[in-house]
């Protein structure tokens, strides 16, 4: 009589079938985990745009061009011009990058090529520590040390574009330094050795061979630093003065998209709140442009 009990072959087949299902389920779960970032972006974009886009469309270009921001004006239905705020964001960012890039790239070159081992072992964790300091602590330092210093030396409010530049450049230094250092390190050794072999000095090699070869990564780091600067909120909120005006000097106060949102979000209702979300969309657009540029820059490779 033929047994209907499973023999060893069938048993192992069944085991592997359940194992298969389990493996597939696990793979699916992991896929879902991976998709979470995509879902996150979707959620963020959906909610922010849902709240802000109608307003942006309705307000039209005057939102971006007008300089009058009086959201709670009881007489008009609110006046929504964020041009000074956009200008503030840009000025503050450009200045921080202008100061931070030379220092950051120089420090990166130093770390990658010049610094002896012990110095590097101190400097690298220090750069990481700089990156780890919370933005509110930077703002704290700015408010208590830098703002009074500016007020004493240069007059005015103290809370100013200049104060924002000083704090922001420090905050973007680690970004520029670490990515640039990696880029310089990634340059193939043959480039450096070839240059030295031809009699060039260390500095000549750095200047004419290494930095150009790493330029795409360096540029990417600067653009990322720019993204960090334009997106910074707390430190700017505490040191820039929050004045919705186009600054007439670097010692004048200004406002940025981020700080204005943080300042008014607590109490904004109705159209005012939608306007703030519209500002968020504008900010988001800037960031996307910068991220796209950074990607483009890092893909370019200088070939010899």
């Amino acid at each position: 009589m033929i047994s209907i009990k499973p023999n060893s072959a069938e048993r192992s087949l069944r085991r592997s079938a359940t194992r298969d299902i389990r493996e597939r389920t696990i793979a699916l779960l992991l896929l879902l985990c991976g998709i979470s970032s995509v879902c996150a972006i979707f959620l963020i974009i959906t909610f922010i745009f849902a709240e802000g886009l109608p307003f942006l469309v309705q307000a039209g270009p005057s939102f971006l061009i007008s300089s009058v921001w009086r959201p709670t004006d009881s007489f008009s239905a609110g006046l929504w011009g964020i041009f000074p705020i956009i200008v503030g964001s840009l000025i503050v960012t450009v200045g921080a990058v202008a100061i931070g890039t030379p220092l950051g790239v120089a420090c990166a070159v130093f770390l990658a090529e010049i610094a002896p081992g012990p110095v590097r072992r101190v400097l690298v964790p220090s750069v990481n520590a700089l990156a780890g300091v919370p933005s509110v602590v930077y703002g704290f330092f700015g408010l208590l040390v830098i703002v009074p210093w500016i007020r004493g030396q240069f007059g005015g409010f103290g809370t100013s574009v200049f104060a924002a530049w000083l704090i922001l450049f420090i905050m973007i230094l680690p970004t520029i330094i670490s990515i640039s250092t990696d880029s310089i390190r990634a340059v193939p050794r043959e480039y450096k050795e070839g240059s030295l072999a031809m009699g060039a000095t260390r500095w000549q090699t750095i200047r004419s061979v290494l930095v150009p070869a790493a330029s795409s990564g360096i540029i990417a780091s600067v653009i990322l630093g720019m993204g960090r600067a334009i997106g910074e909120t707390m430190a700017v909120l505490m040191v820039a003065g929050n004045s919705v005006t186009i600054p007439d000097s670097i010692f004048a106060p200004t406002s940025t998209l981020t700080a204005q949102i943080a300042l008014e979000m607590g109490y904004a209702t109705g159209a005012h709140r939608e306007a703030l979300f519209a500002m968020g969309i504008v900010l988001f657009a800037f960031i996307m442009i910068l991220t796209g540029l950074a990607n483009l820059a890092s893909r370019r490779r200088i070939t010899y």
């Binding site: 194992r19 389990r22 493996e23 696990i26 779960l29 992991l30 896929l31 985990c33 991976g34 998709i35 979470s36 970032s37 995509v38 996150a40 972006i41 963020i44 909610f47 922010i48 220092l103 120089a106 420090c107 130093f110 010049i114 610094a115 964790p125 990481n128 700089l130 780890g132 300091v133 919370p134 933005s135 509110v136 602590v137 930077y138 703002g139 704290f140 330092f141 208590l144 420090i170 230094l173 330094i177 000095t201 260390r202 500095w203 993204g227 997106g231 910074e232 909120t233 707390m234 981020t258 949102i261 943080a262 979000m265 703030l276 979300f277 900010l283 988001f284 960031i287 996307m288 991220t291």
Partner: protein, 282 residues
């Protein structure tokens, strides 16, 4: 000789850049710690906050709030990021999906914290209010998870990449399934790197303010549950400074934060050094 002498100026400048960076860090840290360390005491760390305008209170409730939002964010971000990293590294080839996920993580990492806070306010505080309790530790923590996720995703993926292929192939060769190989061989090898990434994410969560400002509430009361509003340390610095210029508490809180961040930086550095050494030994 001529070239060597011309070298001196640029080399000096480069040294200067390195030293300047170091000096900047030291100045900021020294300032905060010099003013803040004397404030720290057992009472400061465990006492209740003072009433408005009065000094001498403690920051216990803010420490608990920081731990609460960090824990919530980790609880959500850790499995998602590690799972996602495993998927990206172990399960797919260079398909468009992989590129999309990577790109999404990069974009997410670049989104300013205030925008994530705006989203968190809409989604967690308002939309999901019955679930999260409105302004609460849960809302704050879930919002923070959006910021921790891309960091730990990236570092976990890097960690998994450094596991030598031979280990995987060896494990599969003796009949283990893919998942078994991952859990018994790949993950343990990559674990220090993954944990480093999670700790970095913790550092980000602990130091975040703007998103917390919009989602966690701001109450100084000690939280009784995760659905209560609270005030993490970073928010406390901003609040005490702007609302009643209680610089003493602000310095003390900042000092505690700095020490925590420095500890995190040190631990991750040591871990990474040990890890890369071990991997080289493989």
């Amino acid at each position: 000789m001529e070239a060597k002498r011309r070298e001196l100026v640029p080399l000096a400048l480069l040294w200067g850049a390195g030293i300047a960076t170091l000096v900047i860090l030291i100045v900021i840290l020294a300032y905060i710690l010099a003013n803040g360390l004397p404030v720290i005491s057992w009472h400061f760390l465990t006492g209740e906050p003072a009433l408005w305008g009065q000094t001498g209170g403690g920051i216990y409730s803010t420490i608990v709030a920081t731990l609460a939002v960090t824990a919530v964010s980790l609880l959500v971000a850790a499995p998602l990021s590690v799972g996602g990293a495993i998927y990206l590294n172990e399960y797919t080839k260079e398909t468009p999906l992989r590129k999309i996920i990577r790109q999404a993580a990069e974009i997410l990492a670049g989104i300013p914290s205030i925008i994530i806070g705006l989203f968190g306010f809409l989604f967690f505080v308002i939309y999901l209010a019955p679930l999260t309790g409105g302004w609460s530790m849960i809302s704050g923590g879930l919002t923070l998870a959006f910021m921790v996720l891309p960091i730990s995703l990236r570092t976990s993926e890097e960690a998994l990449k450094t596991v030598p292929a031979e280990l995987r192939e060896g494990s599969l060769g003796i009949g283990a399934t893919k998942w078994q190989s991952i859990t018994t061989v790949v993950l343990p090898t990559a674990l220090p790197g993954i944990i480093t990434g999670l700790i970095l994410g913790v550092g980000r969560a602990v130091g975040e303010t703007a998103a917390i400002l919009l989602t966690a509430g701001g109450s100084l009361n000690l939280i009784q549950s995760l659905r209560d509003p609270g005030r993490p340390m970073t928010l406390n610095i901003y609040d005490v400074l702007t609302e009643y210029r209680d610089t003493t508490t602000a310095y003390g809180t900042a000092a505690v934060l700095i020490i925590a961040i420095l500890a995190i930086t040190l631990i991750t550095d040591v871990l990474m050094n040990n890890y890369t050494k071990k991997l080289k030994g493989l």
